[in-house]
């Protein structure tokens, strides 16, 4: 039954291609969209019609995932991406497909005349197909946006993780702003890498500039301290604000052996001590 239906629709599209195309274009341009290039639109619409014809001809009219609709999917994906780049909304792009319904239904009505059953069936079939094709353009648009966001997030996280060498063998990582789990992980990993690169045995993680810490972030911090210890370096956590101290206790996070200091300066003092270094004043006149 599908093959017969499909073939009928394909015939109708072939027979009335130019009038379908004209009606369709009229509707598309009717919104007063001066941002469309009419020639480009005409070419794409003609291409769509021919791919549509091929698709229904195959008899595969239930869904558009199969091989017979591959070329159509590629064309729509390309269209969607191109429209997205030009600044069109996903709805505007989907309208390209949906606005074909009216002209095609009109043509079906003309063909089927008094055959109510036939008309009903064919109209439903075409409607469902065009819905799927239109929604497909929206899906591609969506995926494209998600990819951009994911890539930007990755780039932001990898950008400058600020590890500072305070002295030979002493590193400091002053964290600023709200930490989320993903960012904390990346930052901690780069701290550990710097420890290896500089053979620094002490790393101070300063969270003075961090307004809030949740359990996940606290766990990442502790995990980093433990990992550094395993590697042969010590971490000191400094700048714990009263609110964060409360949160840590409230969350039941165990600090255990981790050294904590109120300020970065205090932590630096301890770091110097552990490194058997001392700072002394130069006496005048020496």
């Amino acid at each position: 039954m599908s093959i017969v239906d499909g073939t009928r629709i394909a015939e109708i599209v072939s027979k009335h291609e130019s009038s379908l195309l004209n009606e369709w274009l009229k509707l598309q341009l009717a919104g007063g969209y001066s941002k469309y290039d009419e020639k480009d639109l005409r070419d794409r619409s003609r291409h769509f019609l021919s791919l549509f014809r091929n698709g229904v001809q195959s008899g595969d009219v239930e869904n558009i995932d199969g091989g017979h609709w591959g070329d159509m999917r590629d064309m729509l994906a390309d269209l969607s991406r191109s429209r997205a780049r030009q600044g069109f909304s996903p709805s505007e792009t989907a309208t390209f497909v949906f606005s074909l319904k009216q002209p095609l239904f009109d043509q079906l009505r003309a063909e089927y005349g008094n055959d109510a059953n036939g008309l009903g069936r064919q109209t439903w079939l075409v409607n469902a197909l065009l819905d799927k094709l239109g929604l497909y353009t929206t899906e591609v648009h969506q995926k494209g946006r998600e990819e951009v966001i994911a890539r930007q997030q990755q780039e932001m996280m990898e950008l400058s993780t600020p590890v500072v060498a305070l002295w030979d063998g002493i590193l400091a990582l002053p964290l600023i702003g709200t930490l989320d789990s993903a960012r904390t992980q990346v930052v901690m990993e780069s701290l550990l890498e710097r420890i290896v690169e500089t053979s620094a045995e002490i790393a101070i993680i300063d969270i003075t500039g961090v307004p809030m810490v949740d359990t996940l972030v606290a766990q990442h911090l502790l995990k980093t301290v433990a990992a550094a210890r395993l590697m042969g370096a010590d971490c000191i956590i400094s700048g714990i604000r009263p609110q964060i101290a409360q949160t840590i206790v409230h969350l039941g996070v165990e600090l255990g052996q981790v050294i904590t200091k109120a300020t970065l300066a205090d932590a630096f003092r301890i770091a110097l001590q552990k490194s058997n270094l001392t700072v002394c004043k130069v006496t005048a006149g020496a």
Binding site: K143, E146, E147, A150, Q185, E189
Partner: protein
């Protein structure tokens, strides 16, 4: 989420096979673009589970499958054996529990290293452990 259809199977019959599994998992993880730490997590989990398959399952196989959900890529590892099976899975998943004189962290550790974990085991029939991570 869908399997991409890309997969590879490795027989686990000896200690050397455990090393092969590690290397293949590493190669797949690199190809799929996993970060270094995530690669290490996957390979370490694979090492633990492959060893379990060998030591407790009497040998079996590992299947490595590439996954994709449209935006992210993933890797799924399945370890199967037709060994004696695990009578008490809850117990087996406790840290430190071991019947083989090990650290008892293989199964529970592998679970912690991956974002997805599933285990099916029937006494007398065998065990199947599946883990997965996403980029």
């Amino acid at each position: 989420m869908a399997t991409t259809g890309n997969s590879e199977s490795v027989d686990i019959r000896s200690g050397g096979d455990v090393v092969v599994v590690r290397q293949k998992v590493r190669d797949w993880a690199v190809t799929l673009g996993f970060r270094l730490v995530d690669q290490t997590r996957l390979v370490t989990a694979a090492s633990e589970l492959a060893r379990n398959t060998l030591q407790y399952g009497g040998g079996g196989s590992a299947t490595i499958e590439a996954l994709s959900n449209g935006v992210k890529k993933g890797l799924r590892l399945t370890f199967e054996d037709k060994g004696p099976g695990i009578p008490d899975i809850g117990l087996a998943l406790t840290d430190g529990y071991t019947t083989g004189g090990g650290l008892g962290l293989g199964l529970s550790g592998a679970r912690r290293l991956c974002s997805e974990f599933e285990i099916v085991s029937r006494v007398g029939e065998g065990t199947k452990v599946t883990v997965a991570r996403w980029t």
